[in-house]
Every structure is written in structure tokens, then in C-alpha cells.
Subunit: 254 residues, 6 copies
């Protein structure tokens, strides 16, 4: 049996950006429906999404079965949360609100086994999902994503990016905006915000790290991919559901 | 406190057709998102939908809280399933595969308290939801919908429609189609199928019963409303989610 | 290891009536709290109570652990529901709406293993709960309770009582009342209703069958015990909770 | 995309018997662990097993993902239960306690779409699992297994086997034994029981129907496979767990 | 649509104390029953109560639907727990064991969006519950309650009270008692304990902050309200249930 | 009613080692099955096991009911997690990755009520499980186990062992191995690893603290017991299940 790989890395090696689905609602069936869209990866959001770990476990299985890379955004930079997502089989962990090099280092250490990090041993479910080769491959296929989404993080960007083992940078436009005095929201068009996004992208790319960003629309995501972003989250399940449900009843009543 | 009413009856009295949302996926949050679209009623589908009764209980509450009429499609013409949906607070029960007058009578009896029917007493949750007036009002506000969706049912249409206490007829186009040798699917355009739909609509309307139908698109639903249908189901949560998720990733990749 | 017994039968043999708690709300913790009151048996109500079988399984364990006899009211006279409650470890099954001798016979057959009945073999959880002696003892310790709660049932009372293997009769005063043109409710005082209750009690007792009844208050239950009732349900968890919560806030505001 | 197939039929066409795992305990993880053993099919038992439909839905996914054929034993010969298992993606349904040709016919009708049967349309989850080809293939890949496990069933064996569309016969040795006055248990060695098993096997095989049987040990299962049985259930999850846990502590204490 | 408000602030503005219900047991239905008592607010206790976040989500909906202010006691002063309660729709968060000004500041920062705090953006469920006006109003309607319940906290009372954005002080009499060498328990009568409670009340009130306290009985709560307490928790669901269940069986047996 | 005791302490007082079962899979039924093996204690693993706290609550009850000591391994050295396990009724808490005396002190403080520690008051479920005597006995019957499983922990072993109130040391061989440059795995045979294990055992035993260790096989566990280990974990549920399921199908196919 071949060693497991993280298909996102293969996609990037082929020069393509990855399309990432975002799950904000709990539900095995929701995950099964969304993943059929043909995404490269699917992220279960345990921070602002309403699924709890008990549901994450169920949702990661169909993501994996459909051939997408299962990822998790953890609620916070917390060893238990990070290791739990990994033990459950996630190959990517997105950690919100990383603001310093120290925080980035602590996060990455929780993602990697010694001697690279401090992840504790016990990948029962990851072994079931990825096979017995998981143990040896884990440090190579797990991608720790640090979210850069505050002014403090931007001030510490170099320190964050210098963290050995860091797998990528993920931009949260809403938090980044309110941290700089703007209203929350995605798909920012303000020159100041675009400049900040560009700064993160350019700096991380220069270090060889892929950059991802949360987008509301395919157009904005495509634009960001053209600029060099490698992980493009486009919309989310709650948005798809609400838009479809609202459009249907409105079209009927018109 | 005013006696509870079934708002669908008020809508029909005002000469308007009702827009009914259809929930095929389990999940409290899914229900909370969909109901925000502005539907007149929302139906939790326990037959082909993947929610179980334990989840139905959770899903009916936000439907009610948002001001839509909570309804349930039961898995079968079974007293336990029908009474459970009603005890949980549903004001409408849609029963699949009613094929004879006897089956219709058994279904209606399970929806209504004596002396009109044989519903067993114990509306703990319905009382919590609708208030102490529920007990006296129940027989007036509960609407039993018999699905007519087979050739046998069409042959027995008069007997089904003659059932005292029946609240409405709900048409299942997929089952009606395969029962007549067509492929399954909604929004039928075949003259033979349209004629059957028209027959059910005309016959039931003549008896003073509202008729509903499962539709895939707002256009078809509007056409059916113009013909006189009073309950128009338009799409469903799984469809909205799948369409949105697929469109997003495809638009990104184009 | 001694063979398992149904402690209710020991209580009755000692000439005492049994106090039965009634669980209408789902929740392992609710069961753990209520059973501490010191009940002889506790019944999980799957008919009008809001627990589903998946929760029944959890609730029976603490009832048993606390030394009370675990019982279940099934939603309907259905083989799957009856056998499931027994497989899960219930020693008593209360079946609603038994109206004929045939229905009673079908119910009892589902409670007992051949040659006495038609219960299908597979008591995995009952074995865990009651030990390896369960298999041989099951037919002796399982008590099938037929509810007599309609005018039709009263007309067929003799046939119901003649059912071999029947374990007891349980009276549902609300359904019995609305079946006879009265308002629903427990603790009936109308002479006509008391006479019907007395008829059931006397007839069943003459056959050697214990009789139980759903009561709202301890006083009424004691009165019924003095008349000869052997299983007295007194209030339920939802009532205790609602009464306590309402009294507390009202006393504070006074 | 190729049309979905039922891999059991391919195994039988290759002249091999199929090894079927049996899940008696609820739990997505249990299913994920057991299926790794390399089974041809895995059956979630909703009759005597302690999983409920809400858990069946979760358990079928990893069975399918691991390449085993997902099957369900329904609690009873009930249209809602049978159709629910199929809608959830099961390719085999084992129905307990089939005793007559009429019961067999009703069961099979609930498994097959018109014109062959009366299955109602709506395979949302089966479509997600098996792809869009499921709709056309369903009647060919779904295998309805009638359990023959009582003396009455044996008396009606010819009528049961004459049911058009029936997919196989599954023998329940415990119920078959108690129905004939023996103690319950698997791996029967009594000549009378072996003769009955042989009768079922020979008669069904002569009709071209595969026969399966519940076994406790690999040895007995292999013997039955050599006699011609095509579906061999060997042990179950609860047994593996209990045996392992007991052996470990006993070996430690010795 | 009007901007959402925190009704507790309206009650206080009207000079009235608020009655707060306390939910220690998991269960949507428990919440639905208790809230009917007429409470001003209802708190789901995730610290010593047995509900987990997955159940909190379900329980907040009926509290809100019934018109009471939904609140949560988080298990600890942890950003993930605090933000999760708020994202789920709670308008009040009670944080246990605040002992220093730094801890209070960290807690409050997690409750408020920038520039006042560091709450991360993503109120999907709060938006569903409170409407689109939630985003602008959040910092005004969310009330962070710091629990003062140790001797260390009392020593740092001024620093805690000086925290900008703090919404109120909540007293935990049991922890406060054991921290000072007394037995645990509510409704303290010891002069030393009453003096401590009075100190907290007076100091916080002087700063314009409402004070709340956990009480066992309506009488004690009323007395505390008369002293100036603004949030009075009276009993809890487990207590109501246990008291009612115990009283019923005892009254029957007397 | 007698004060509750921790039976592990009685076993040790009798000079016997304790056999501890390990639950890595969620499931009430799994716990019920495993505990029947006759273990002295059963540990629900919330770190690398796949159960979440919502399931831990259910699993502790049958462990206690069967007479084994219920224990929990928490996911991390976190006050909320530690106190939650104790409130739910665990008498032992195993904390992973304790590396310093400060960490040990923080952990122990979270396990013990003042004045010995800082555990917050509110043992609702522990009271239900252990009776009203729990409150007074808690500090005596709760055993806090610090895991020593890294090179840093070994360097700080004396400081860890000096922690007042510490109840025992639990060795995690896999983490201890990878921390020292070995492959992960249990039942270590390398002289360097055996020496480290011996060092921990001897040092802790000299302080009067019982030592436990995670083992894969009964043989290794017996050897460790003979060296003086007092808590021997032998295998786990996932391993028993996987071994049994794999052996069965392989034996059949051979
Ligand atoms: Mg963010
Ligand atoms: Mg249909
Ligand atoms: Mg009744
Ligand atoms: Mg059988
Ligand atoms: Mg406290
Ligand atoms: Mg470890």
C-alpha cells in the first residue's frame, strides 16, 4: 500500500490553485452533499461553524471517501483541539487568531510529532482513514495553517512566517477588517485592505508558503488565485442553503 | 391567550397559494437557515428525507419560532408515526402512498381526537408549542394530507376524497410517474401526467379540499398555483445546497 | 449468580402496591435524577413522551442500576417496538390502545419466547443488564401490560383478559375519558368514569391480574391503591419540572 | 461513470462464498474498525442489534467507503423500515421472521421500484453513495433476503421461494431452534437442526437463490460454505469485543 | 426591523430585578418546559451542568423563542468557550472563577468585537436568532458576567470591577464559601458570608454594575433582590425535578 | 449509607495490582460489554480515544454500575476538562503530558476542593452516582494521575513527584519512546526504555505513589505488575474489536 499523500500539495505542484469548501453547519449529510460539488478540500469549521467535535468526526469520513482533503478549523490555538482534529483524520488544520511567532510555534508544535513538534501519539482514527502508512507520513502530509487576521499579526508577520514546519497562511478578511477599523465582510475591495492582503500573500509566497483566503464569490476567488493564492475558500454551506431557499420562494412569489 | 390557528388556512382564505419548504437533511441549523427564506410552511420529510424522529423534534421548534407552519411527512401510514409528529407540534401531516378509502380513513383517524378520530391523548410538546388552547383546537388546526401518487390511488380517488376529516391532497409526481410507466422526476410535462395531475386537482377542489404538489422549480410551482394548487413545495434543502456548492466550484474553475 | 427476578412481583406478593415513575422527557440525566426518588419502577414513555428508542437505551441503564424495575410504554402494538424495548432490558412493556382479544394476543406473543409466544431471539443488552440467567428467566420476568383506554376495549374486556400470558392491565384515564365523551385528564372523579375504572379493576383482579393506572397526584394514587390497584403512576418528570419552575418564579415575584 | 454493481453477486459468480460481518452495537467507529478486517459485506442489525436508524445512516458510509457491501437487517417486515434502509444506501436488506409467501411478497415489493414492486421514489442518500446510475440500477443491485427461521416458515418454504424478485434466503439458527423446541444458539449440531438447514439450503439453491446463515465461528461458517452457503456471517462486534476484553483480563490475572 | 435589545437591561431600567432560571441538565425539552415558568432569563450551565455545547445550541433556541434572555455559563475563562456561546446566540455569558483584573479583562475582550475587545467575527447562528441587526448591536447587548467566588477574587475586587466593558458580577456562594473555610451550599446565613456578599454587592453597585447571585429558594432570592441584587437565580431544573419526584413517591407511601 | 470509597485503593491495600480497561471508541454499549470482562477500573480516553464528553457521561454510568472504578483520561491539562470528568463521576483522572512540577500542581489543584486545591463546587452527577457522602469524601477518593511520557518530564520527575495531593504516575510508552528518538509503540523491550520505565517506577514507589502503565498484552502487563506497577492497562476496545474481526474473516478464508 502506497504511503498516504496530501493531495493539495500535488495540486500546487501542478501549478493549480485549490478550491476549498467550507462547512459551517453540523451534519454528515450536509458534508456528503457539498463534497459532491468537486472540491479539492473541504474544511469543517469548529470556530464559527456550528458543528462540535462529535460531529466533525462524522463529517470527515465522507469528505475523505469522496477524495477531497479533509481539513478542520479549530476553535482556538489549543493543543487538545488541534490534536483531536488530527487524530480524527484531518490533513490540514487552520488555526484562528495567530498573532505572534510564539503562538505560531506552539500551534505548529501541536501538529507535528517529535522531534519536529510535540504532538502526542495515538492516531487511531487517522490510521483507519489513511492506513498504516499514516504513522510514518504524518509529519509530511499534515499542513498547519496559521490564520493572519489582526493588525497585531501583521506586525508580527515575519516572526510568524519564520516558524519551522508552518504549512501555510490563511487570511480571514472579516477579522482582518474589523481589526483595522472596517466593517466585517469578505471579498474586500478597499485599497487599504487589498494592500494588506497583498502584503501577506507576497511575504508568505516569498518564503515558499501557500496562502489561502476566505471568499464569498467565485469571481473574487478567481481573482485571488490569479494573484497567487493557493487555497481559495468559496462561500459556505449555510450561504448556499440560504441563497437557494430564499431565491426559490421569492421567484415563486414574484 | 388566543386559540391557536393554522396559518395555512388563513392564507387560503385570503385566496393565496402557500409556499412550502421541504427539508430532506437532518439538522436544527438547516431548518433555522431555510425557514428564514420566508416560507409559509416547512415540511420535515421523514420518508425519503434523512432526518429521524429524534431530529424532527428539534427541527419543528425553529420552524414554529420563525412563524412558518410546521409540517411532517411521515414515513408511512402508521399510527405511531402520525401521532408522534402531531405530539411533537406539527400542524400538518403528509402521509405517503394512500391508495384506498380505507387507508385514508385510517390515516385521518390517527390525526383527530375522538369522537372524530382515534388519536391518543398526550400532546405534551404540542401544548408547549401552541399553548394551553391546543387541546380544544387540535381537531380544527391539524391538517391531514393524503398523498395520491399511484395508479391504484387514482382509481380510488373518489373514495379517498370522501374521507371525513381529510384536510388536503398532496401529489407526489415521481411515484405517480413510475406507477404509470414513466421515469421518476418532478415538474412533469407529459400530457398524460399533466392530465392526471389536473384530474386530482379538479376532483379534490370540487370537494373543497386544498391540493399540494412537490415541484422542482419556482416556475413550475407558479404555474401549478395558477391552476389552483394551494400548497406548492419548491425544491428542497439538499437541492439548494448541492446546486450552490456545485455552481461555486464550477464558476471558480471556469 | 441467582436468576433475575421482576421485583414488582415480589412487591405484590408482599401485599404492597408499587409506585411507578413516568418519564416523558428524553434524557439520561433526567432518569438518573427521578429514580433517586425511591420508585419501585420507572417507565420510559415512547408513546406520548418525547424520548426516542435511541434515548430509551440510555435511560433504562440508570433505572436498573438504581434498583427500580425498568419499563417502557411502546408507541403502538408493533412487534418491532415491543421486542426492541425488551431487548434493551425492559422487564415491563405497556402497550397503548389494546381494544380486542386479538390485539392483546398479538401483543403478548411479541413479549414471550416460543413456545409461549413469538418473540425473536437476540437479547444482547438484556443479557448485559440481567446476566446470563436472563435467557431462561425471560418469559417469567417480563410483564406485558395491555392498556384498556377506549369504549371498544371495555366492550372486549373479557376477551382481552382471557389472553394467556398477559401480565397486567394498565388504565389510561385521558383516552378512556375522551373515548366516552368526557374531556381528557387524569384523576377522574365523575361517577361514570369511576365506575368504568372499578369495572376494569374488579374484572382483572378476579382473573388474578394486577391493574395499574396513570395518576396526577399522590392522593388519588393512594386512593386507587386502597381500592386494589397494584401499579400506581404518580405524575411525571415534565410535570415535576414545570411545577417547580413555575412555583419558584411566582414565589419570587409575589 | 460505470453503473453501480452489488459486489456480492460478482463474488458468487466467481464461485466464492461471501464473508459477512455483523454489527450489533451502535457506532460509526465500530463500523470503521470492523470493516478493516476485510469482509465482503457488513450488516448493520437494526433488529436485535442496538443501533437505531439514526446511527445506521452513519455506519453505512464507512462500510461503503471501505469497499464492503453495506447491508441492513430491518427490525421487522415493515415498509418504512425497509425503504429507509435502501434510501440510506444499503444494497441488501435482511428481513426477519418471514413466514408465508404473502409476507415474502410484501417484503420484496417494498425493496423494488415499479413495475416490479412498490418501493417509493426518493433515493437521496443512495444517489450520493452510489452515484447517479443508482436510479436505473437499483432493482438489479438491491438484494432482498428473507429470513427463514420458524417452523411455519419451513412449512411455507416453497411459497416463500416462489416469490418473484426475492434475492436470497437467510437462516436464523437461534429462532429456528426455539421454534422447534431447542435452546437458542448458533452453530447447531443437532441432526434435526442440520437437516432443516440442509432442506432450506437445498431447496433455495435449486431455485437459484443464494443462502446465508448466522454463524458463531469461522469453522462452522467454512463448513456451511462447503455445503453451498453463499453468505456466511461470522461472529459479531459485541462478541469480538467481549471475548477480547475478557481474555485480556483473565490472562493477566492467571 | 428594530435593532435587537437585551431585555434584562430594560427590566433593570424599569427598576425591577430579573428572575433567572438555571439549567443543569441537558435537553431541549427540559429547556422548553422550564422557560414556560415565566423567567426573565434562562442560563444553560456548561460548567457544573451536564449539558455539552452540542446541546447548548439546541437549548438556546426555545429560550429565545419563549421571550427569555438566553445566557450561558461557560466552563472556564477560555476564548473558544466564550465565543462559541456568543456565536450560538447567548446574550449573556457568565464566567466562573474570575480572580484578577487580568482574567476579567481577558474574559471581557473575548465577549466584545474590536475595537472594544478581541471577539472573532462569525455570528452565523446569532444572526439567525437576532436578525441582521445583531452585527451592529452585539457589543451593546452582550453582557459579560464575571463570577466572584473566591477569596483571591475578593482581594482583587476593585481591579475586577475596573474592567472596561464588564457587564455584571455574579456571585457563586458555594465556591465563595469553601474558599473561606465554610461548607459548600447556597442561601448562606453566616454573618461572615453575608458580609462578603454585601461587600461585593455594594462595591459593584457603586460602579454601576448589576450583581447576580445563585439562590436555592425564592425567599432568599427575594431578600437579595431587596438588598439590590439585579439577577436572581432561583433553584435549578435538577432540583425541581428531584424535589417533585421525591415528594410524589413519599406522599404516596405515607 | 456508607461513605464512598475508591476501590482501587482497597485493591492496592490488599497488595494486588489493578487491571484497567481502556475505552478508545465512543459508545455506551461498548462500555457495557467491556466492563463485563471483570476489570478493576475502566478508563474512558478523551485524549486519543474518539469519545467526546457528551459520550463520556453516558459511558461512566455502566462502568460504575458494574462495580469497576470509572476513570477518564482528559485531553489536556485543562481545568474545564478535569473538573468536567470529576463532576460526571470519575474517581480517577489521567492527565497527559505533565512535564513540570508546576503543571502537576495545576492539575492536582483542579482535582481537589479547597483548601487542598481549586476545584469548583457543583458535583451534581457525582452526587447522583456516589450518593450524598460524595461531597465530604471527594478529596479522599479522587485519584489524580500525572502522565510521565516525555524526556522533559523525566528531567523534572522529582518536582512532579513532590506535588502534594498527586495520586499516581501513569506511563505512556509511545510518547515516552518518540520523545527519546524511538518509534512509537507499547510493551517496550529496549534496555534504554526499560531503564526509564524502571526509574519512574522506583522513584514514584519510593514516594508512596502507585504507578500505572499502558500495555498491549497481558504478558507484558503481568511482568510490569511483578516489578511493582499497580495499574495495568491491557489493550483497548478498538484493539479487541479489530483483532477479533480480522481473525474471524481470516480463519474463514484460510
Ligand atoms: Mg476570523
Ligand atoms: Mg412519493
Ligand atoms: Mg392513552
Ligand atoms: Mg432471528
Ligand atoms: Mg462556582
Ligand atoms: Mg501519550
Amino acid at each position: 500500500m502506497a504511503a498516504p499523500v496530501n493531495r493539495l500539495r500535488e495540486i500546487w505542484a501542478a501549478g493549480r490553485p485549490a478550491a476549498n469548501a467550507w462547512l459551517s453547519l453540523p451534519g454528515l449529510l450536509n458534508a456528503e452533499v457539498v463534497v459532491k460539488g468537486g472540491w479539492d478540500s473541504v474544511t469543517v469549521d469548529l470556530q464559527h461553524g456550528m458543528a462540535e467535535p462529535v460531529e466533525m468526526l462524522r463529517m470527515l469520513a465522507p469528505i475523505h471517501a469522496a477524495g477531497a482533503v479533509p481539513m478542520v478549523r479549530v476553535p482556538w490555538n489549543d493543543p487538545a483541539a488541534v490534536m483531536r482534529a488530527l487524530d480524527a483524520g484531518a490533513l490540514g488544520v487552520i488555526c484562528p487568531m495567530i498573532e505572534t511567532g510564539e503562538e505560531a510555534a506552539a500551534f505548529v508544535a501541536n501538529c507535528l510529532y517529535p522531534p519536529k513538534g510535540k504532538r502526542s501519539w495515538g492516531p487511531l482514527r487517522a490510521n483507519l482513514m489513511w492506513g498504516p502508512g499514516y504513522s510514518d507520513a504524518a509529519n509530511d502530509i499534515v499542513v498547519p495553517w496559521a490564520m493572519v487576521e489582526t493588525s497585531k499579526a501583521m506586525a508580527n508577520l515575519d516572526a510568524i512566517l519564520a516558524t519551522p514546519g508552518l504549512g501555510g497562511i490563511y487570511i480571514g478578511p472579516s477579522d482582518l477588517s474589523i481589526s483595522h477599523g472596517f466593517k466585517p465582510g469578505l471579498d474586500r475591495q478597499e485599497p487599504e485592505m487589498l494592500e494588506r492582503i497583498e502584503t501577506i500573500l507576497a511575504t508568505a509566497t516569498a518564503k515558499g508558503l501557500p496562502v489561502g483566503i476566505q471568499c464569498a464569490t467565485p469571481d473574487y476567488a478567481r481573482g485571488m488565485a490569479e494573484r497567487g493564492m493557493r487555497l481559495l475558500t468559496i462561500g459556505n454551506d449555510a450561504g448556499f442553503l440560504q441563497a437557494g431557499a430564499t431565491a426559490a420562494v421569492q421567484a415563486f412569489r414574484t
